[in-house]
Symmetry: C2
Subunit: 523 residues, 2 copies
Amino acid sequence: MSVARILIHGKWVEAEASSFFRANNPATGEALAMQFPVSKWEDCERALAAAAFAVKELHDIAPAKIAAFLEEYAAAIEAAADEIVKAANEETGLPASPRLKDVELPRTTNQLRQAAAAAREESWKQATIDTARNIRSSFAAIGPVVVFGPNNFPLAFNGISGGDFAAAIVAGNPVIAKAHPLHPNTTRLLAEQAQMAADATGMPKGLVQLLYHVSNEDGLKLVSDARVGAIGFTGSRNAGIHLKRAAEEAGKPIYLEMSSINPVIFLPGTLEENAEVLAKELADSCLAASGQFCTSPNLILLWNGQTSEKFISTVAAIFNERAPQPLLSQNAPHQLSSGTKAFIDGGAQLVTGGKNASGPGYRFTNTLLRTSGKDMLAKPHELQREVFGNVTMITTVSDEKELAAILEKMEGNLTGTIYSAKSGKDDAVYARIESTLRQKVGRLLNDKMPTGVAVSPAMNHGGPFPATSHPGFTSVGIPASISRFAMLQCYDGVREGRLPEILRDKIKNSETWRSIDGAWVRG
Amino acid sequence: MSVARILIHGKWVEAEASSFFRANNPATGEALAMQFPVSKWEDCERALAAAAFAVKELHDIAPAKIAAFLEEYAAAIEAAADEIVKAANEETGLPASPRLKDVELPRTTNQLRQAAAAAREESWKQATIDTARNIRSSFAAIGPVVVFGPNNFPLAFNGISGGDFAAAIVAGNPVIAKAHPLHPNTTRLLAEQAQMAADATGMPKGLVQLLYHVSNEDGLKLVSDARVGAIGFTGSRNAGIHLKRAAEEAGKPIYLEMSSINPVIFLPGTLEENAEVLAKELADSCLAASGQFCTSPNLILLWNGQTSEKFISTVAAIFNERAPQPLLSQNAPHQLSSGTKAFIDGGAQLVTGGKNASGPGYRFTNTLLRTSGKDMLAKPHELQREVFGNVTMITTVSDEKELAAILEKMEGNLTGTIYSAKSGKDDAVYARIESTLRQKVGRLLNDKMPTGVAVSPAMNHGGPFPATSHPGFTSVGIPASISRFAMLQCYDGVREGRLPEILRDKIKNSETWRSIDGAWVRG
């Protein structure tokens, strides 16, 4: 049986493996053929040494070279799209089309190309010049970035091809990617394209490196290594908290996206206007990818009353009708079952679902629960846990005061949504509750579901803890996401010829926005 | 004997005190008259509740009101300058003039006025608009900010008047200041002006609050409270590390400035050109404020040889000639003595100084030590500790390779300086060592000492851990320092009338720079 090689210092080499693993097909439950190594520390050490070496070579690299690599890589992914999509479909159970081939793969290459454009344009560096004092500063590479990708986006958030990867590369850093062990072969195929693109564009060896799996202990050691510049992690709250503690103890910036229940509030007037359509919109959002989106609405807040009861029945009916889709991991049905049980133990009632579903592979019935506002206030901690999958909680409140109290007790979230009447009937309530919700979420939405995360310079895919580790950063959106992997470098009285190109009085790049003596100037 | 009151929710009230303390005059060693309370948790609780309340009132505040407060406060400090300077002189032993009256107080009011201008201009919000998708984001208030000021700048870095304070206020946050217990009366006088300015400009109660002292345990509890948005701390590495751990465990952003030895490298050619002048320049910088600057050069790197020996003798002679100035705390001479002893135990030789100085108050002889590059490489941890005061280490290296190895092992620093020959003779060495030093420091200087920290938009007073907790932020420089106390808030599909003014299509403020569809536009 073939064992995959790891990518170290520009070469595919045999791992120093402590053990081996295989991925499963979530749609069938069958194990896939290829074996992957769980690396010992020696492999981390090799990757770190090569990354530290690459830092030196990247120090003076021309931004156009970085852009050329990213564009070559995007083209290479497109050329290998069939094989990559096939592998991702096998390893995740996500539909090959439209999801992987027509949505996620184009999103991935689009991100890489936007990143290339940002690398060329250089405005992300926020070059700031005080000519009178000859003090100049800009953002620049922070050092090797370790990226842990999540299970739910095998391409667009993959540690070797996703948003964190692209942002770290634009900032001029080498990346050590740790594959998600649920889709190692997809990651391997992407890394092959990345390395070919790096070779084709003359990038330093060690720009992109790949490990498939490490022990928990080695993971903690890796993120706290002195050679590391920063870490990107998207995954579970439990794993994230451990990595966060280790990295921060060593003084390493770590950006984590961990946990979010994405509250959606329907103000009374909006359901009166449009309950049927909204019920379908909500169910579509909750059940998209079987609820395995970071921004999936897990907590729905409604007013008590007949309109809400009818709405709940409609949502429940849709949940019932739709066939349960595959979950990403073998363990997921068990996690959803115990998460549902914990909600019921906390005082919630099951409306529909709540059990393992029939059919091949890993599935759980589409699950809807409900609580009263009073119950929610009594046990906010128990009832606001993220259960990652097709499990949604509806809470009905008796009045605005109760809703406000629930929002006050809410943890940080990626998103918060308010649907309100077109008539303006809900506007006064909106105005009163908005400020509390605003402080708790990275992105506030009106009248639309949070599951779409556009790759826009104005996007914020971030939010207060525990949604992420710092509410000032976003992991989606270029150029904003780049600054996470950059340090601020100031030059004070440094001689002109020694300044980086971006900080000289006259620069070749006519596209770059720089702040010179207080005004933004282009070129 | 009078006991000072604390400032809570707009009123000067009696503390719930667990004990009381007095400050000393470092120039004489005498205890000062006024007593100050060490607050119990109840006082923290009162401050937190008032701050959380103030957040609501600040949610929609007009930027011009914040600016008016900051300007009123700056004017009030100037009006009370004599009294404030007198108190600061008594409590710190720093010269009333020029240091406190003519340098630090104007710096403080200048910072507040620059902050006011930034509040009015609003460009710090980095408003970013994607008109096609109607996604809009900007930085906005993060929540109550707790500021711990250091011992060494009683005005310009004071928790109630310094850079962290100003940045937190511009971002729209209430501040809970924790006075440094070495200058409580100075802090009280500043807080009086702050509260009068807040009253005069109609700011919410609880915008500025002051505690003098809390137990270590309550300090940790304070920074990890759910109501806190962020924390600013300038002080010792030991205290900083404990606060960092507590805040980060609770998911709170904490910005710390903790420890920096600020390496200064003299390349061989520069000493050949100018040794006498440079020796004086170095000694002036090392002994300014008795070495108690965050950017004081603690580690000097020279090449072995006759020129360096002569240079060392000259520096030593100046160290000897100059009368030791007061240190900030009663404990400082002991700390410098044990720090010097630790260096000697680590292999360093004492060139001059190394003992308590005669004269009243707290003084230590100006101290110069030296090591070889080999010793430094053998014990980098022991020999690169920050000893906060008039203690400087010179290391002579045998060649460039040894220097490069020392730089590789160096921890993160606020600054790094390279002096090189005007003739260009050192340029090749400069080019080879620069990249290693660059990654280790927030600010790289040429041919000047690091002890000046200009309040400029291009300044970076920050650097990699342990200099600070995150190399992407600066604590000096407006507007850059403001973003530390802001969260990124995105509005996705939000109805026009509900957007904050800064994110609407048309805005009244003609000064604001915004990024609209990829281009910076003013007004």
